[in-house]
């Protein structure tokens, strides 16, 4: 399924993202999954890891809607009058990951339900600055 010649690092993670895949690693020694590719398992310290393709399905664990934004988001038009949502997604396979949350009304965060089903959105991955994003199913 996966090209195991790719290095287990962030460059590969974002390369896969641009190809429409959410790829992390599976530890063959202890069976733990990590959403961030690593060459050494943080649980059992084994180096016997392999690529694991995540389904991209998950739930919104927690989130924030950001109004004072970093430069990179300001250039995309976000700011005090146009906040954006970022959150922690609990992947259906277990691990959590940080991601942008699209398709929600970030100006009305009280109406965004944690626990809602989300799916990874690969359509809007910016090739220059790839970032993981999810939206409500």
């Amino acid at each position: 399924m996966a090209d195991d010649s790719r290095a287990f690092n962030a460059a590969s993670f974002y390369e896969y993202l641009k190809e429409g895949q959410l790829m992390g690693v599976h530890c063959r020694a202890c069976d733990k999954l990590s959403a961030e590719p690593r060459s050494m398992c943080p649980s059992c310290h084994s180096r016997d890891v392999e690529w694991h393709r995540f389904s991209g399905q998950g739930q919104l664990g927690t989130f924030t809607c950001i109004s004072v934004v970093p430069d990179v988001m300001a250039r995309q038009g976000y700011g005090r009058n146009n906040p954006y949502c970022s959150g922690i997604v609990m992947l259906e396979e277990g691990p959590r990951i940080s991601a942008k949350i699209l398709g929600v009304d970030a100006a009305n965060p009280q109406d965004i339900p944690t626990g809602m089903a989300l799916a990874a959105d690969f359509d809007e991955v910016d090739p220059e600055a790839p970032a993981l994003a999810f939206r409500p199913v």
């Binding site: 959403a35 927690t62 809607c65 109004s67 970093p70 430069d71 691990p95 942008k100």
Partner: protein, 425 residues
């Protein structure tokens, strides 16, 4: 908690004999070295017997990012030069906002090891040369640049997500957060070194007076909660956190003199002993053990309590890392002062106020005293030192049997936590 905590002890006793800090605030034209000299002079003026700079054998200086804030790397030797301390060895310690809490531990261990008897520990940060957006980017670099920052998360953003998780799991609400800020500003109003030496009501009244003077429409805020709920006065930063939920951007420095306890009486009649110290690390929020606490704080606290042979019930005064209001609530739970979910109720009931049974952040905390990130850890130690010695001025706790205090210093969103426990000798 997964890991078992091994009981450790220091090789010999270590005491704090002197403490000083610069004014905290925004000081155009002052650089790190000016602030650090100011802190050192404040310490030496208040050190009963004084100290000759030549007698200081070593130094550890917490500094997060003079590189990005001021374009100046290799900070520690410059501080040493400006104190006339060369050639004594000095080392910069960087652990984000826990830099000087970590420096404190290095100083403690340097003396406990037997290598040195007299060690200077300090911290410094000059932040206000950059605009707010620039500071936001520098602080975000304490988060995971590969997996948190690309998701749009900022430093307030990650604490906002923690706050939301706490609100989902417990009865925590927006008012609880605001009440932490009101309480800490009430304390900061009694601290002449604080960046905001005023209550939130005082700030509200000043804004009303300014509107009246200028002939502008006068806001009709009924009280400070009304003021804090007005988005024009208290805008959102990272929902559910607003401006008054965030510690300010601050210039400042702080330092303490540590010595082997056996020679403490040649410096002061009132040394304060380090009886417990702990430090632990944690993972980014998405990989954290829980979304409602910082595991590093629990491990660091367990180590410090073990070493001191006491528990949370024995702590009479505590400075905790309130970089955001939610951070104080979570800290009081992680330290075992309150059960998980009880932190917000304790704030509501006034238990953490100056006259409460669990006074927290008597200095005004990072929120009101100010948060020059690399200096905050030592500034917390200084407040506990003053409280235990009965020198905290108008904010001195009334308890005349004050003996034991704690400082809790967090780097990033729990990547680092340092807990130190002090006892009046």
């Amino acid at each position: 908690m997964a890991a078992t905590i091994k009981k450790r002890q220091l090789g010999r006793e270590v005491s704090i004999v002197g403490a000083g800090m610069s004014q905290f605030g925004a000081f155009k034209g002052k650089t790190s070295r000016d602030l650090f000299v100011e802190a050192f002079q404040d310490m030496n003026e208040h050190l009963d017997q004084g100290v000759d700079v030549e007698d200081i054998e070593c130094g550890y200086i917490g500094n997060y990012s003079s590189d990005l804030f001021e374009g100046q790397g290799h900070t520690a030797p410059i501080m040493a030069d400006w104190l006339g301390m060369t050639p004594a060895p000095v080392t910069r310690i960087e652990n984000a906002c826990a830099s000087s809490g970590s420096a404190m531990r290095e100083g403690i261990m340097a003396i406990a090891s037997g290598l040195y008897d007299i060690v200077l520990v300090g911290g410094v940060e000059k932040m206000t040369d950059l605009p707010t957006e620039g500071v936001t980017d520098v602080l975000a670099s304490a988060a995971d640049g590969l997996y948190e920052v690309p998701a749009g998360l900022t430093f307030p953003g990650i604490y906002g997500a923690l706050a939301k998780a706490h609100m989902d799991r417990f009865e925590t609400n927006l008012s609880h957060l605001l009440k932490v800020g009101i309480k800490n500003h009430n304390n900061g109003a009694l601290n002449p070194k604080a960046q905001f030496n005023t209550t939130i009501r005082g700030m509200m009244e000043r804004r009303i007076a300014r509107s009246e003077q200028r002939g502008e429409p006068v806001p009709d805020w009924k009280d400070e909660m009304d003021f804090l709920n007005d988005p024009s006065a208290n805008p959102w930063i990272a929902w559910p956190l607003r401006l008054y939920d965030c510690a300010p951007i601050t210039d400042g420095a702080a330092c303490v003199l540590l010595v082997a306890s056996e020679i403490a009486d040649s410096f002061t009649d009132k040394p304060v002993q380090v009886v417990g110290t702990g430090q632990a690390t944690g993972r980014p929020l998405h990989d954290a053990e829980e979304l409602t606490s910082l595991s590093a704080a629990k491990y660091a606290a367990a180590q410090a309590y073990q070493m001191a042979g006491i528990g949370p019930q024995d702590i009479q005064v505590a400075e905790v890392h309130d970089c955001f209001t939610i951070a104080e609530i979570i800290a009081t739970e992680d330290l075992g002062f309150f059960a998980p979910g009880e932190g917000p109720h304790a704030v509501d009931q006034g238990r953490t106020a100056l006259n409460g049974d669990r006074p927290i952040n008597t200095s005004g905390g990072l929120k009101a005293k100010g948060h020059p990130v690399g200096a905050s850890g030592v500034a917390q130690i200084i407040e506990v030192f003053h409280q235990l010695r009965g020198e905290a001025g108008d904010r001195q706790l009334p308890n005349s049997n004050l003996e034991v205090g704690l400082a809790h210093n967090v780097g990033g969103t729990g990547g680092t936590c340092v807990v130190n426990i002090l006892r009046r000798s």
